[in-house]
Symmetry: C2
Subunit: 668 residues, 2 copies
Amino acid sequence: MAVGRVLKRILLGQQMRSDKLHETLLPKRIALPIFASDALSSVAYAPDEIFLTLGLAGGTFALTHSWQIALGVIFVMAVVVASYRQNVHAYPSGGGDYEVATVNIGPKAGLTVASALLVDYVLTVAVSISSGIQNAATALTFVRGHEATWAVILVVLLTAMNLRGVRESGNAFAIPTYAFMVGVIGMGLYGGYRHFTGSLPLAASAQYDLVPEPGYEALGSLAMAFLLLRAFSSGCAALTGVEAISNGVPAFQKPKSRNAATTLLLMGCIAIGMLFSMISLARLTGIKYAEDPAEQLLKDGVPVGASYVQDTIMGQVANAVFDHFHLGVVYISVVTGIILILAANTAFNGFPVLGSILARDGYLPRQLHARGDRLAFSNGIIILAGVAAVLILIFDADVTKLIQLYIVGVFVSFTTSQIGMIRHWNRHLRLASDPRQRAHMQRSRVINFVGAVMSGTVLLVVLATKFIHGAGYAIAAMAVLFLMMMAIRRHYDAVSKELDIVSQSDQMLPSRVHALVLVSRLHRPTLRAVAYARASRPHTLEAITVNVDPAETRALQEEWEARGIPVPLKALDSPYREIVNPIVDYVKGIRRESPREIVVVYIPEYVVGHWYEQILHNQSALRLRARLHFTPGVLVASVPWQLRSSEGQEARMEADVSSAPGSVRMGQ
Amino acid sequence: MAVGRVLKRILLGQQMRSDKLHETLLPKRIALPIFASDALSSVAYAPDEIFLTLGLAGGTFALTHSWQIALGVIFVMAVVVASYRQNVHAYPSGGGDYEVATVNIGPKAGLTVASALLVDYVLTVAVSISSGIQNAATALTFVRGHEATWAVILVVLLTAMNLRGVRESGNAFAIPTYAFMVGVIGMGLYGGYRHFTGSLPLAASAQYDLVPEPGYEALGSLAMAFLLLRAFSSGCAALTGVEAISNGVPAFQKPKSRNAATTLLLMGCIAIGMLFSMISLARLTGIKYAEDPAEQLLKDGVPVGASYVQDTIMGQVANAVFDHFHLGVVYISVVTGIILILAANTAFNGFPVLGSILARDGYLPRQLHARGDRLAFSNGIIILAGVAAVLILIFDADVTKLIQLYIVGVFVSFTTSQIGMIRHWNRHLRLASDPRQRAHMQRSRVINFVGAVMSGTVLLVVLATKFIHGAGYAIAAMAVLFLMMMAIRRHYDAVSKELDIVSQSDQMLPSRVHALVLVSRLHRPTLRAVAYARASRPHTLEAITVNVDPAETRALQEEWEARGIPVPLKALDSPYREIVNPIVDYVKGIRRESPREIVVVYIPEYVVGHWYEQILHNQSALRLRARLHFTPGVLVASVPWQLRSSEGQEARMEADVSSAPGSVRMGQ
């Protein structure tokens, strides 16, 4: 079966109740903040990474060269946005890069993209939250020195929120994103106005001298080029999240692809505008930003020392532009913190969507496919958050260190996807004959080709400049995920092959049914089990009990007779006072004697309302069932008895699909 | 039903395969080391606690008063041993103090004893392991400063060993205990010989001056008496574990009671001998032992400071007695370490025995009663070890601090048990007429009376002197356990009442059986489920599948028809692509329409060999069963399909009763 066809069927074949269709699909004004928060929020840390990397060379190197880097990043961003507009039109199903790679290159390419995206989801959480905490520290000084702890607390809160279920749509998610855009663009405009009127002050850090890090004092031209490339690849962190819209086309109102493409373009323009503003203002206010400020920043020739607190570039710019308007600084700090948290939240919503697709293709546990299943996704979300928290702790919530791991995954998926798109157009061009259509396709192919070359180049630059700084770990994690998902798929394939119908012998009816009712005491659940067993009219019906205590067994037998229960009660001996083995042995004995007979074991089970009651009941039944399952020809029938405490507890187990993470993105 | 009669029936009513009887019962020479390691090992820390507490007053107070304390402790020990010899004869069933208290005073007294014993098991592990590490540090210097870490590692190892199952009997357990007895008694004799020949050197710490702790400089006679009482109650730590034999009478060879009583007497004599030797040698070698050696020990008027390492009294005595024979020091250190680990191990073996009895009486989860059930005990053992490890970490493996919590539980159970014994004799004396028998009973009653007064007094002393030092925590823990066990019992009673047969309506047969076979794909497990369902001849039989993906459902329906399966296949719609809700709704619909019909849902289940395969299979089946159980009149029948990976895995689930913790003590 062609994977592409299956995929399309899956991804397009979503049934929705038509009366709910209108309210769940997203207009562009809501889709933009939901899908763009990840991409836009990176303006909060990408400029910092550019300045900090260039700052390794000391002096005014960062101020003089940052515009080159900025132009490079902006150019790549433009190319990537243009490329993804092609994806959105060609693959509107929401399968995103995974689908493009799988259909056009092959399953392994798709799985490579999926591994990269899974790693990225974890890093999106770790980087965004760490950056959010770093930004918050500008205003909330008590956070300082405890960044990792606060970051982990935030991750836990976000996890709890998503486990409970929070719909992404609505004002709660849209307003902060718009507030952030207004803030950053407003700051850019006001800063520009002050610059041209000559009233823009220098930043506080402009007064310091920036000395090179040891080893970077006198760079040759090759080393300098390498440093520029490293800064460029750090700056490319601004591109993370650009692909989000291509995974969410089904969530848009019609015409879906066009609306998605428009939103993508809008997002690209805003992101470029914000990045340009930030880099410009940072240069105009003369910010000195260092990886190791205590040693690298000098005041009157003396290092500022460990007591110096280096605010983020966003914070320093805000402090300069709004030097007479403190509320502006606070506003920027608050909206930046919030958008970074929203960016982290996108990972919690993107993961279930990808997980569902991967599960459908047999690469993840199958229950992740059924979207209504909250429990399975809860486990996924907990793993996602857990790994992110561990990363935060290992890297001490240091954005600069975490970002080294981040960018490689994004560009693996960009590059694979764009190569896939080229092959997509090649294939379609072989079939298309209409010249206008062909011209359109050829134009798209050129765009995707440029995209592939561009993102491939960036990927090589990232690998070359960052491998030893952390990108290697990300590659290793991707490899582990890749192998794990391959192993799962192989397991499912092997099981599927094992279960294929080879003969009609499986349809053969067993000749007789031998039913056993398990009795521990004579109470209502036991009577119910006996009645149900009798109702199913087996050929043989016995009640059995395990003789752990002879006196009790005797009492049970007497009561059984006294009540005139029309089923014989047999007591199994248990020399070592245990329950499971004697029953299993007895059942196996029946099977041995008449192999064409099936044995149905009726076990009364208590249905309880709370987990702690579960500890007090059914434990022997559970273990017995697990053991009996190993013997072919044995059925275990649970006869539930609903204890009073179970009343009203079923509702807690029902899945509320509408507020499950990721439901908005899938257009549910 | 009289609790006593039930208890006796339970505890005596053990069936054993007669061919195994001989090899499992213990001769006295094996029983002594198994049951005595806890009691004997306390000589490794009890003298330290006496010296250290007396040392608070500074000077030679410890040297001059320790003999009074030692005599007091030895006297109490003799009384307690004599008392328990009565218990062993009167209650040979292995129910121990819990049984004596329950039968003679009442269930709440029994539960009080049980709570105290449970707390003690935890503390036996924490104290013995901590003391073992402290002793080991004398020889293994790398342990120093990391005592808590090493102690936790030892607890983990011991737990792993017990989870795998290690029989307590045999040489591996007997030899170290005898080696310890030989070592300590040998050291006592050789030390005594050297003393009388005038060649016994002073201990290294004899050279220091011991200054009082702040607040203890000039004690009034009342304060001094209080300090003596505190030292006495610390010294009573030597009595922990004396009761062990009374819980293990069934494990002895016949005549059980007489052999147990003889072993108890033997143990008492050895314990008294060892304690006497240790205290004497500590005094003769002039050991200075302080709670805070860095400040309290002076050399030439200057505190020795934090770098001073204070060896245990066992270590200091060994260094003095064997000053020209270093191998002797190493021998003492090694056997002391090993016996303390064995002492900790007794808790792992004592807990399952008590847990089984408490579970039988409904105070702990019922599955703890069936002794063959390793899994349930595993959970108990993990909890026991976990709490002990937490205590070790909280108290930093400090024996002095842990011991404050330890003694109160022991004496709660001693006192309650001895009061119970007095009432036992009172009751029997009312019935007995034979004068010789009466005389014997009266003598026993006097012994138990002295025992009750003695242990009650010690309990009051312990409470008065140690409550604020930690005994309060132990009392609080006992109260929590008491309330928890009461709550469990109340829950079982309530459920039992709810399930009592009130009418014959439960025996009423359902009129019809409506069977459903769940189908996800058409493979061998599905065919088997259909065949089994057909074999049970229900009145109505349908196959149902959930329509998550219309195309797949159509393909399934076509294959179903093509194969000519003689059961109609119905597809349930699932607007939100989930599996559980549509099925539950359908089943509820059937029940609503015909309430006298029962619904049997056949679910094919994969039987896998490894836990990680379980993650990949059956998850929807599991959740479906949990949901369906809430609807009365619905049976869930699992139709297992044994995957190839499950072959040979059943053996791993079988319980090996003979090596389960506690089996030796129960005479199994």
